[in-house]
Symmetry: D2
Subunit: 258 residues, 4 copies
């Protein structure tokens, strides 16, 4: 048996003079970087610097669009008609592709950010609009989805290339959703615990919930957070744990699976 898994993190979330996250350290650990496109975070200079770093470290570049809302970092839900969703996805995806190409790299995957992602995890129609918009710009782009959610249902239906994602530092409910951040234990801060937990999920091809329930899942990539104090420690621990168990850490190739 030959198992590998991808590690991804959100990056390029600085803006002008304001720094966020330790992108340089994370780029040494992850295999895929989801790069903010200037609407909820990032600007052309931050994007260029982050993409340049990803290219240098051989990390896969992803377009990571969000709602146009710097002050809320794309974390406030917005209700937009379908054509406007489509337009803002195309704009951000195109901008990311242009930036990457200009630097000699290319955008290989696509991942929604923040409230936009959360809404699409619940609303298949909305996810479909967003994913079709991205695919209309590049039909070969690999869509990264929150495994087992409406996002996954949509990419299976679209027949596009996709990768399933789970979270390294978040506890899951029995219905496959994330435990709300307001609950105790919702966020895992202990690197060892996070590593052990992810290793189990990858080996079992299942999300393991707080209660111990196993939900079969297509796990192609593990989301590591970049903006917490323990982010780099957790990222390193997860990677080490996987590798110690013989699981390679490598970029996903994208599955086409209905």
């Amino acid at each position: 048996m030959n198992i590998s898994v991808d590690l991804n993190a959100d990056m390029g979330e600085s803006f002008g003079p304001w720094k966020m996250g330790d992108d340089a350290a994370l780029l040494k650990i992850v295999t895929s970087a989801n790069i903010a496109c200037g609407f909820h975070a990032g600007d052309p200079d931050v994007m260029a610097a982050t993409m340049g770093g990803a290219i240098a470290e051989n990390v896969g570049i992803g377009a990571h669009p969000g709602f146009a809302d710097l002050q809320d970092f794309g974390r406030r839900r917005m209700s937009l008609p379908k054509d406007r969703l489509q337009n803002m996805i195309r704009y951000q995806t195109g901008a990311a592709i242009g930036m990457a190409r200009g630097l000699g790299g290319h955008v290989r995957h696509f991942k929604l950010h923040g409230a936009l992602s959360n809404m699409c995890a619940e609303d298949a129609d909305m996810a479909r609009v967003c994913y079709q918009a991205a695919l209309s710009v590049d039909p070969d782009i690999i869509i990264m989805v929150q495994a087992t959610t409406a996002q996954e249902a949509v990419v299976r239906d679209l027949g596009c290339s996709w990768a399933g994602e789970i979270f390294a530092d978040r506890a899951y409910n029995d219905n496959g959703t994330l435990v709300d951040r307001s609950q105790p234990g919702a966020v895992i801060h202990d690197p060892d615990l996070a590593g052990q937990r992810i290793l189990e999920m990858v080996k079992q091809s299942a999300i393991i919930t707080e209660s111990g329930k196993h939900i079969p899942a297509s796990i192609d990539t593990i989301c590591l957070h970049g903006d917490t104090p323990t982010a780099v420690a957790i990222a390193g621990a997860v990677k080490a744990k996987l590798q110690a168990d013989g699981i390679a850490v490598a970029q996903f190739t994208g599955r086409r699976q209905g």
Copy 2:
């Protein structure tokens, strides 16, 4: 002899609820549309609507980037380091390409806006940075330049595909620059006069200055302004005059000429 010339206009300069220009009318007249990319004017929805109109009317789509300055409409000069110029050009060009592709069209040309264009007409180094940035995103993009300026010198040196532009409604000085708007006669408001004048210039392949001097010029396209009360009337008059004299109005093909 078989002569044709292109007619272009800046479009997509509305923003959110604010309208600017009569794009629908101009799209019936011009052969190329320079579409604002959201930094000095336009937004993803305006871009999509304008590009959709251009596709429907078979008008060539151009990326038309400017300084990030909505309040000044990209008309205030900004001093930016080269890498930042490069990044903002790549971002806007990529966004335009993504939007067009998503709509089933494509961006065939590139034209700088406002103060960014004026600075590059005087500063070859700056023009080179901007044009190389655009070409790094799409090496086949046709660069539209102000004929006889530093912009033209740069595209000749780069060996890329380009098209030379003159202005339908602006008087020229003997050194080939535009007469300052503060001077009487700087802007031509009479459609007949504009048409006659442009016909002469196209036939002579020369800019004809206020004093009557002829400056040989590569005239591939005529810039029609879209945001003045007489814009549509002048555009129509120029087109009619050219066609009446047997000069076809058609998209430029781009010259590669050192």
Copy 3:
């Protein structure tokens, strides 16, 4: 009997190079101007020009804050926590007061814009937060409310100075709400009809609904829209009709009524 009524309109809704409304013409008709504060429309230069015009025409200046959303003109609903609502109201109100004072004028009233106003017409808690925020900046500011809505209930409870408003060009439902714009007859485009209708309402001190029902209302001011093609014509017709019937058009003084 000595009756007078105020006429108000939203103004200063241009932004940078983009014009909206015919403020110069409306300032000759209205007695109160609600001036956008730069979050949903306007900018410091537009505010200064509009306030300067209001001072010259002896028109009362109002702070007219909205959601921070230029692209949607403050017309998209946003869910914000109370402290953030409070902060954005104080900021915009303070900015308006500072601008007016710098020009030798002063802000005498306060009116919410767009989605922010509509949400507060339904949600008394939200209205209370907004009005208390404005009053914390200036306890003497007169709060303009949509008559008979939750907005009015709140100002009555707060004991502050207020003025009740009805709309010149909108039809009313029997419950006092506005007929949805999607319905036929929701917006009145005929200046004569608008004038006749408003005259009746002012004389009766009641909102007269589509079905003819009379809802008693505190009518201190009539809202005229500024951004429609017939805006100036309707404004003039309403004013003429009122004056022809002996009703003076004059600034409200603000009622303090629980």
Copy 4:
């Protein structure tokens, strides 16, 4: 003899999710806080939090306006006509006054930020426009000026209340200007050195240049930077050194001196 001096720092420079500076620590040390007004940094929520902290710590609140340029943090020079400078100063000053009043505090001083301040240190006409704009909003506001520059000349001429400022961590040239940051020794990182140096300047009422020259100066306040790693250490060292030598650290009262 009874000497006291004020300590000031720029604060409220976070934006949305992005943090900058350790305002909480600095508020325990300084006596005046220059609070960004949302154009180059800050937003209404950051302003409210920072002003609330200043009120709690009995620190004087200052309006600290800058150019409208978040991405460059107000550090890029902009050329604006006088009326636009005036409008943006009035807007920001009014917003700050409104926020402070809403919180039960008040804005007692005014200080220009970044490139706007540097330009006004060289250009008396521009400084005059900015200061008159602030005074037109509040004639009692105390203008904080870079001592010995054109800024000081202007406030002396205006006859307004003002306070002279020197920098705790910057070396001075013999003509009273700051040593360019590109030069060795331009920025002082050693807290002890900074403290000793400032003590001497305050005692001598003079700027002491790199070469040892004494330039007589009205020193009412010492500017401590907030956004460097050693900011809090330097601030604490300067304060301790002054107090150890019997110089009280207290808010300036503002001098009116021609």
